[in-house]
Assembly symmetry: C2
Homo-oligomer: 445 residues x 2
């Protein structure tokens, strides 16, 4: 195989992991990153959104031979714990015994991936802002934030792993017949914090994702290794209860005491965090094509940024790396075909997870507080355990399988229709685990 | 009213007309245009797409007091003439007696609007490319194409009338929570030409829009004042019959002789035009918000570029000017409210015409060759003539009325449902003008 000179824009999660895949194939890889080296400076700035690693992410990490190191700093979350206003807790397991999604810190994971990339010979340059791309020639220009110096980089291939606000994609956007959309949702988010107990233990059940579902909005909390939880309030920008109406210290306390009463005593810095941390927006990015000849290709958020409500943003970006690896095995030196097959394979799947993630927002913030919804999930789970080859719940297909997202989405729609009929059966709450319900489902399959 | 210093980006149709509206209100208006002065150099470059002025456009021109001058260089088209492969011609009137859409040359109309703007005291600068906008301060920077000189312009308000590839919008796209999409359709277009007869007369019926509907694609021809027709081939980029498969002189002649046999003898420069003129793409632009405080606002294609198939691209941009004028009357010096009300009023209507224009492409290229479709239109017209207050056909609402596009779209959907039932009546072709059909429609209303 011919050794390529590859420029990767962005040293984020996907850029770093993909660089390891490329370096392991023997290519010369250089990363240019806009920000300073996060391993030397804290740049999270109160907008981390904790990450939930699931099977697609683990597979991609394993493909680069680095799963074990990361599992050591990941906390398994086996279930959702829903917090009602009156303090009642309800559990909902994510999957079967032993299945879990894993809470990891974005910063920690990213630093580890950068270290590993460098170990594999990848060169990482920081503080380099991409100022322009010559797509036909694969020439990228960068400007150094500190020195102001400009640099022109010639390579065989440029991979744009530079995130939702990708500079590489910006250049593509100006080319003829490039489809593109950026869609901001009505909700934003704010990071808050639950510190550890004095003895370093967690103030809430550790191996769970905690949700305070409240219809139009929600609070969630994910555990950290240091005993704290990182909380995120997902909240509309405008409207009755929204960032635009909760403005003073009194507003914050009154709103949280009324809406999340059991969380308030756990959050001693609630007011400081609310006003100190930024209010961030949430964007969905879609575009096509991702590839230009054998010269340029987008990966990760640069081509398919999604909302975080299915915990699949990072996992889908990591799955890009898995598929990119498979395409390298399959197409060898034919990079034009490789990049084209990569984009054709990934586009329908990343579109599907974008839709699923938006749909899961409604499930998390509203339906998880709905007994009918929880009953439906219980029926599905019972049936799936009995007939695992006939029924895999949508959440499991997305989270604990490698079924392409688009197939999972289609199968999920089929299941929805069946469950609509099942839930309409008289007295379903009483006979949910009966033979009659089971037979009905078998007949509808 | 307070006199404002207003910078308009773009001296196209909408920028020039809006400047007249602003100047007539007493504001100081300066236009910066990227291209050279079209009145001194021919810059159409074989991609004009003839324009069809209809009632919304005429109203906006009348509002600026300039309708009469333009009517003198406009050719009324009272009907569509469909050309079948066997040469059969079928007429379809656009509206009632006396109603027409008007063929005008983009270049001629634009030059006239620029002249009129200058007469009203508007200053027009050419060859000035907008390089950046400071939105909070309404400062625009331009670079002169000829001298390379940079210029910074301070004003009270910047209006971005700089088209589908708007530089003003590009700046807005980088701001938080700006929704944006650019969507290219699968078809492109190519300009062709039918010259006049030796005596200066038209080779086809003059007062008509000619269509060669062929299912997946079509050819159209609009009359010019000099006896020629400007033809446009709307054709897929990829696929069996497409720009990608018609590549040689032989391909062109074989395809046109087979598909548009009656047009070929009228087009002596067919092959030269096909290879000499560019293949252009068609884009739909959507975005929101259009306005930033009282400092910046987008108008025309910059905020809502659509496909040309309803003949409403220019008309909807001109209607922006009508509504902008109404908002100036209503809100006086309160520019923040004025711009906000303008965008809230226009956004749903321009979204509606974007959808209608795409839908009309199918009608033009496919349905106009379908006898059932033509029958349906005949039934609607008969009913509308008898009950004009109960039924105005969708085409007439869009073209010959000032009903907001969104209302027309909704009413059109209601009519569709009714006509579905009417067309399903047994033997409808025989009794289309019967009392029974009329009663049925009355009962369904």
């Amino acid at each position: 195989m011919e050794k390529k000179n590859i420029t990767v824009a962005g040293a984020g999660l996907v850029g770093s992991l993909l660089s390891i895949y490329l370096a392991k194939k023997g290519h010369d890889v250089t990363i240019y990153e806009r920000r300073p080296d996060m391993r030397k400076a804290d740049i999270s700035a109160g907008k981390s959104i904790n990450l939930a690693l699931s099977d697609r992410g683990w597979k991609a990490l394993a493909g680069a031979g680095i799963g074990d190191e990361i599992k050591e700093v990941a906390i398994p979350m086996h279930k959702r714990v829903m917090h009602a206003v009156d303090g009642t807790l309800t559990d909902q397991a994510y999957g079967n015994e032993g299945q879990a999604i894993y809470s990891v810190s974005r910063g920690g994971l990213n630093a580890l991936l950068m270290d590993l990339a460098e170990k594999h010979g990848v060169k990482v340059n920081f503080d380099k802002r991409c100022t322009s791309i010559n797509m036909d020639e694969a020439i990228a220009s960068f400007k150094d934030y500190n020195t102001g110096e400009k640099e022109t980089v010639n390579s065989d291939l440029i991979l744009g792993a530079d995130g939702a606000f990708s500079a590489v994609r910006n250049t593509m956007q100006r080319t003829d017949r490039f489809n593109y959309s950026q869609e901001y949702i009505k909700h934003g988010y704010k990071e808050l914090n639950i510190p550890p107990n004095a003895d370093g233990t967690h103030k809430l059940e550790r191996n769970a994702l905690h949700i305070w579902p409240r219809g139009e909005f929600m609070l969630i909390a994910l555990p950290n290794m240091d005993g704290s939880f990182t909380c995120t309030l997902f909240f509309p920008f405008e409207g009755k209860d929204s960032f635009s109406t909760i403005k003073t210290e009194e507003d914050v306390l009154a709103f949280f005491n009324k809406t999340f009463p059991d969380a308030v005593p756990l959050m001693p810095t609630l007011v400081e965090d609310y006003f100190g941390n930024p209010t961030s927006s949430l964007v969905i990015i879609r575009c096509f094509p991702w590839a230009h000849q054998d010269k340029v290709c987008l990966v990760g958020d640069a081509s398919h940024a999604i909302v975080p409500f299915y915990g699949q943003g990072m996992n889908s970006g990591f799955e890009d790396c898995t598929i990119f690896g498979e395409m390298m095995d399959k197409y060898g030196d034919d990079w034009t075909t490789l990049l084209d097959e990569f984009q054709k394979e990934r586009k329908p799947n990343t579109d599907a997870i974008a839709d699923l993630a938006m749909r899961n927002f409604v499930e998390m913030r509203d339906l998880t507080a709905d007994p009918t919804f929880l009953l439906q999930k219980k029926i599905e789970k019972r049936f799936s355990n009995k007939y695992p080859d006939k029924w895999l719940p949508l959440y499991s297909m997305v989270t604990f399988s490698h079924i392409p997202y688009a197939e999972a989405h289609a199968e999920g729609k089929r299941q929805d229709k069946i469950m609509e009929e099942v839930m309409a059966m008289p007295n379903i709450a009483d006979k949910w685990d009966s033979q009659e319900v089971e037979d009905k489902m078998l007949s509808l399959l």
